[in-house]
């Protein structure tokens, strides 16, 4: 190979490398909501927003660990989520101007919830379940925003995440979002599906973000939607999160059983709610009965799947 051929080859490689880098840089950038979409956001209603607040389960992670009673409305953060990627620490999302999100506009809030983008343009880690919240209606987002502004301001910044390289590079999350951020419903419902089932799909796939724990994840951390709600190895510890499809190993409960479980914590086989689901069930208990019935109707309608976690001895 002559010197000039080598030189040309090197030049081609450099050009390709730069071009590839530019494409990656472009693809990994923050994908904010269009300006018109932010401008078109309606005024939120705090009373309606409370329902979204419980449906979205904000307290389960953002309440100071161990808080009880009304103190669960102090969203100071601090809960640690130990995952294979490292330890995520839930931030302060109280209405504090400096330490919380009290200084945010409705547009900032919508960009966080629907696009996983912070006001400074950086990406949030999907431990904040925006991949589910992305399916929420803008009207519900601003209602939630209005309600959260009525909650107490709590000073104090929670410690930062403790992650291993390369997960420390937030820019890379832009590529993750190209793969996994999709506001479309996961489960296609036929034209004969009733209103209740559709309402349940919205609550489960969107604000309820049930799939974030009940669906197994790929090595990338993205949800394997072909095993939607099939159960998964718990992100923390050595337990499992159960299969809640009507498949083998999944829920054999009636719709009434599911709704009563979400209301009371009692299973039809005379057991009770446990683990991380306790906080979720308490939130669900605060919803109107029709919401729990809708969730139950949807869970009866999702495709049955075998357990999404490996068999143990």
């Amino acid at each position: 190979m002559s010197k000039s051929t080598l030189g040309r080859l090197a030049l081609v490689l450099v050009v390709l490398g730069v071009a590839g880098g530019l494409v990656l840089f472009y693809l990994s950038g923050p994908n904010r909501l269009p300006r018109e979409a932010v401008a078109a956001l309606p005024e939120g209603d705090a009373a309606r927003g409370e329902r979204m607040f419980w449906a979205a389960g904000c307290t389960s992670c953002h309440t100071r660990p161990g808080a009880k009673g009304d103190a669960i409305l102090e969203l100071a953060g601090g809960l640690e989520l130990k995952t294979p990627f490292g330890t995520f620490v839930a931030p302060n999302i109280s209405s504090d101007q400096q330490d919380g999100i009290g200084g945010w506009s409705a547009g900032d809030f919508a960009n966080a919830m629907l696009r996983g983008v912070a006001p400074d343009g950086s990406h949030y880690y999907p431990a904040f379940p925006y991949a589910s919240y992305a399916r929420m209606r803008p009207a519900d987002i601003v209602d939630l925003y209005a309600f959260m502004r009525t909650l107490p301001a709590v000073a104090g910044v929670a410690p930062g995440h403790k992650l291993a390289f390369p997960f420390t590079i937030r820019r890379g999350l832009g590529l993750w979002k190209q793969l996994y951020l999709d506001p479309e419903p996961v489960i296609a419902l036929g034209p004969d599906a009733d209103e209740k089932t559709r309402a349940g799909r919205y609550l489960v796939e969107g604000p309820g973000h049930c799939g974030e724990c009940h669906t197994p994840r790929a090595l990338t951390g993205g949800l394997k939607t072909q095993a939607w709600l099939a159960g998964a190895v718990a992100a923390e510890g050595d337990g499992i999160v159960p299969n809640i499809t009507p498949g083998e190993g999944g829920l054999s409960w009636s719709a009434g059983d599911i709704a009563y479980y979400l209301e009371s914590g009692f299973t039809p086989d005379f057991d009770t709610v446990g683990g991380a689901m306790v906080a979720v069930q308490k939130n669900m208990a605060r919803l109107p009965a029709e919401d729990r019935e809708a969730i139950a109707a949807y869970l009866k309608a999702v495709p049955p799947r075998p357990n999404g976690y490996p068999v143990r001895n």
Binding site: I240, P242, Y260, S264, F270, T272, G274, Q281, R312
Partner: protein, 145 residues
């Protein structure tokens, strides 16, 4: 030497025997509580009509089972071997665990001392008792299958 070995073996057997007991015993207590809760939940849910006899029988059984929840006996240090969903957090937070067990016993005894008179009463009773179940299972139980 042989004697030492035998003594050691005997000790090991005794130790494993005493560890085999509490797991099964506490599971039996939990199952007994669950069994009594079933008919009560059916009334609370409206699946079955209110029946004072059923309520009294099952609340009494629930109370009897709950009062058997002796933490020192059923949850001795190190009883984590075998088929158990009990988490090590129990022994790391024994004071809290004990307090929660005492609260459950007190709440169930209180409910059983003045039997609910209608469906709403059963719902309220289960609501109060259920708080205790979830409160403990949240941090101290992890199902593995």
């Amino acid at each position: 030497m042989k004697r030492v070995f035998l003594a050691g073996a005997l000790l090991a057997v005794t130790a494993s025997l005493s560890f085999a007991g509490p797991v099964e015993d506490r599971q039996a207590v939990m199952k007994a509580m669950g069994k009594a809760l079933g008919p009560l939940a059916a009334i609370a849910k409206g699946e079955n009509a209110f029946d004072a006899g059923v309520v009294e029988q099952n609340l009494t059984a629930l109370n009897e089972a709950a009062q058997k929840l002796d933490v020192a006996v059923l949850f001795p240090e190190g009883s984590t071997a075998g088929e158990t969903a009990a988490l090590p957090a129990i022994w790391e937070n024994m004071a809290d665990f004990q307090e929660r067990a005492d609260k459950l016993k007190a709440d169930v005894a209180d409910v059983a001392s003045s039997m609910p008179a209608d469906q709403a009463g059963v719902q309220a009773a289960l609501g109060r008792i259920g708080q205790n179940c979830g409160g403990c299972h949240e941090n101290y139980r992890m199902k593995k299958n």
